[in-house]
């Protein structure tokens, strides 16, 4: 009965979405005010999808083996947290999560949004319903999570052990919230293009959604990167895997959108541009979903391999993106450009930011899809990896990081002050860093060296907007921007330091032997067998010493039986200046064990930087919300004495 309740809730939600869309069309055509019923429908839809998702959680928690999905992906001997997290660790469950987030976002939007005109709001609600409808259809037709298994199985097949990790409980839902949060920006852009009301009010309505989604994407990508780093046991933090690119592309587009929204909100300029970015940002979310969920690409993450689903998703992508671009082509030209600006101005800075981000996005997009294209045309198979992305997108990212230091110093409309003088100290710092790397590490390659240089410069340049201001009176949004830009410098420093200074040691050691890696001496003590709830393991014990300090590391190789798999559980020890990363491999047959050791100086800065960027976004979000609330509560003296 539980599964049937969930399925019924989904069908009902799909019917309501169709009704919501029809009401929108009729409201815009005949000018009838369907605001109340449409809001109510959007809210009920959100509740229904929540019910459906709760039902799926329930059958997974009970390991109800009469549900096909549970049989395929769960096992009764699994710890409870992974039974629950396993709900969205598979294709159908994660698509249900996607749809749930989409519908709930629509419901929240219906409740809170009062900033646009009613017409635009209705049009946006209708667009959101159309989006939801397509994905309901995808779930109900091609990916029913509640399908029954007859007769029920005795035991489930288990969950991929790589996914049996706390990272899984947090990482996909965060990314999905980000992906789908962008759907509201898309719907708002679609609605505003329909009604022609592209103005600063619209930008202010769109901003919290774009910003919120962007914060979650930042967090999701950062967490996913750390998950891959410690769980895969390969010592890398970014593999340019298509699935990683699938999350990076919406982030790049959302970052550009976030900056151009500010121009539209403050100056009423970049109208068509911002609408375009809002469309592209959610399109990239859908492209990402298509890449991950259709299994079209070679990828360590490719869990779903099913051509029917791929075609369905591609059709949805084509319909929505096609409709948005058609509308854009029809209406975009009639949008009046807002307040003019001069060549040296904040607006120009943000346009350049947008251009560079778009070029990087294009490079990542083309590189990710190129293998598909070649295979479709010539049948030849190929893969595009780090050599392409690093060397083509890397220099542009560095250039962008340089400009991040300049943009916030410029005034809106026109800049006549000698602001570039302010950059003297940051530039000197960068030059010093460059000199130091030449003296201390003459052998490192050019990109990491420039990365360290730019990081030193940007760390100083990013705080310049605070100079000469009363810190208590500086708006929280400005603090947020400074923090986010500073976070980029921190992450860049981590990326460059890791690329430049990592030392690696691969060796076979017998118990008692000592290996050196970086400043560390690592003594191999031996291995012991271990057992967990659903795995057995070989655990190595390593004593690492550096000067006087000593630590013990216990890397494992785990063997899971359902499904039969091995995973490397790396042992990682964090210090203020880096991480010691150890992996135990296979026995060599004569009493020795393969060991892989890394000393990674300042690698943690990568994720610290990511967290700072997200925190900066959160400060900006809270700051704007708080300001708005205060403005609403306290009427200005003009209003009071009117």
């Amino acid at each position: 009965m539980i599964a049937e309740t969930g399925l019924a809730a989904l069908w009902l939600a799909a019917g309501l979405a169709a009704l919501q869309f029809v009401l929108m069309v009729s409201a815009l055509r005949n000018g009838i005010d369907f605001g109340r019923p449409m809001r109510a429908i959007a809210i009920v839809q959100g509740v229904l999808t929540l019910i459906a998702f709760a039902m799926l959680l329930w059958v997974f928690a009970r390991t109800d083996l009469s549900v096909a999905l549970v049989f395929e992906n769960s096992h009764s001997a699994k710890p409870m947290i992974y039974k629950i997290a396993g709900t969205w660790g598979n294709h159908e469950g994660s698509m249900l999560l996607w749809v749930t987030v989409l519908a709930v976002a629509g419901a929240v939007f219906a409740i809170v949004s009062r900033r646009t005109s009613e017409r635009t709001l209705l049009a946006a609600l209708g667009a959101q319903a159309a989006l939801a409808l397509g994905f309901y259809a995808f779930l109900l037709v091609a990916s029913n999570p509640f399908a029954r298994l007859n007769p029920p199985a005795f035991e489930g097949r288990g969950l991929n052990p790589l996914l049996q990790d706390p990272g899984l409980a947090f990482h996909p839902p965060t990314l999905y919230l980000g992906y789908v949060g962008l759907s509201v920006a898309f719907s708002l852009a679609f609605g505003a293009l329909l009604t022609g009301e592209v103005d600063s009010r619209l930008a202010r309505a769109m901003r919290p959604w774009a910003l919120g989604a962007w914060i979650l994407l930042t967090l999701g990508i950062t967490a996913g990167s750390y998950w891959a780093y410690y769980e895969l046991g390969w010592g890398g933090w970014w593999f340019w895997d298509p699935v990683e690119n699938a999350s990076l592309m919406p982030w790049l587009a959302a970052t550009a959108l976030l900056h151009s929204i500010n121009v539209l909100a403050a100056r009423g300029a970049l109208k068509a541009w911002t609408m375009m970015l809002a469309v592209i940002a959610f399109s990239m979310s859908m492209v990402g979903t298509f890449l991950v969920r259709s299994g079209v690409l070679t990828s360590v993450h490719a869990f779903a391999i099913d051509p029917e689903r791929g075609t369905f998703l591609l059709a949805l992508l084509g319909i929505y993106v096609g409709a948005a671009f058609t509308l854009f082509a029809v209406r975009g030209a009639s949008l009046k450009e807002g307040a003019p600006f001069e060549l040296v101005s904040r607006e120009t800075g943000l346009v350049i930011n947008n251009l560079l981000l778009s070029v990087i996005l294009g490079i990542v997009f083309l590189g990710t899809l190129y293998p598909l294209f070649v295979e479709a045309v010539s049948g030849e198979k190929l893969s595009v990896g780090a050599p392409y992305f690093n060397s083509v997108a890397g220099p542009l990212a560095l250039l962008l990081a340089v400009l991040v230091g300049v943009g916030p110093l410029l005034a809106w409309r026109r800049e006549r002050r000698p602001v570039f003088k302010l950059l003297t100290v940051p530039v000197l710092l960068g030059a010093t860093a460059l000199l130091v790397t030449f003296i201390l590490a003459p052998g490192i390659s050019i990109l990491p060296r420039l990365g360290l240089t730019v990081a030193a410069y940007l760390a100083a340049a990013s705080i310049l907007p605070l100079i000469g201001r009363n810190p208590l009176r500086t708006p929280l949004a400005t603090w947020g921007m400074v923090l986010a830009h500073c976070g980029i410098a921190v992450a860049l420093a981590g990326v460059a330091a890791n690329a430049a200074f990592t030392s690696e040691r691969l060796a076979v050691a017998k118990p008692g032997e000592t290996l050196g890696v970086g400043p560390w001496l690592v003594q191999f003590e031996g291995v012991t067998p271990m057992a967990g709830k659903n795995w057995t393991a070989i655990q190595g014990e390593l004593q690492a010493t550096r000067g006087s300090g000593a630590v013990t590391l216990k890397p494992q190789t785990r063997y899971f039986s359902d499904p039969p798999t091995e995973t490397n559980e790396a042992a990682i020890e964090t210090f203020w200046n880096g991480q010691l990363y150890t992996v135990v491999g296979k026995p060599d047959g004569t009493g020795g064990w393969q060991l892989r050791l890394w000393w990674k100086p300042f690698v943690t800065l990568i994720w610290l930087g990511g967290a700072l960027v997200a925190l900066g976004g959160a400060l900006a979000l809270v700051g704007r919300w708080w300001r708005l609330r205060r403005r609403r509560r306290e009427p200005s003296w003009r209003e009071r004495y009117a």
């Binding site: 392409y388 691969l506 060599d588």
Partner: protein, 146 residues
């Protein structure tokens, strides 16, 4: 700047950016994409010496030999039509076994494929799409034997 000119400048800037992205990507992809070959392709001389490629196939039964240093392994990859000898120094990934599918990244040097990376195959069900057909054939063979 007049609003009209401003829009013209913006539109052309966007065009230039799009063009730049395409040109940069084409330039980068020309020599940085790694082609996927099977042992038969390599026997036919499709892969140039020292060119970064991916090799895919099945690990031939009885071919895995560990070298004296305990870290280097040599094995043969087969696609049923030809075999390629492979050398790899490192920890082989989970579920690297004789008779199972493998994808290796590296280059051909003097008739041997020197692998930098052996791609992980994380569980029994996951198979790189490139190996899909090979695996299906393999499975069919197995079923018949049974």
């Amino acid at each position: 700047m007049k609003p009209k000119n401003q829009r013209l400048v913006l539109v052309s800037a966007a065009m230039v950016a799009a063009l730049a992205a395409v040109l940069l990507a084409m330039w980068g992809l020309r020599d940085r994409a790694a082609y996927f070959y099977t042992p038969a392709d390599i026997a036919a001389g499709k892969a140039g010496q020292g060119q970064a490629i991916r090799l895919g196939g099945m690990v031939q039964k009885g071919s895995i030999a560990r070298q004296g240093d305990g870290l280097t392994i040599r094995f043969s990859v087969t696609d049923g039509r030809a075999t390629t000898p492979v050398a790899y120094r490192g920890i082989v990934p989970d579920l690297f076994r004789e008779g199972s599918g493998v994808v290796a990244e590296g280059r051909v040097a003097n008739g041997t494929f020197v692998a930098d990376t052996i791609l992980a195959k994380h569980d029994e069900r996951y198979m790189p799409p490139e190996l899909g057909n090979l695996a299906a054939e393999h499975k069919a063979g197995k079923t018949l034997q049974r």
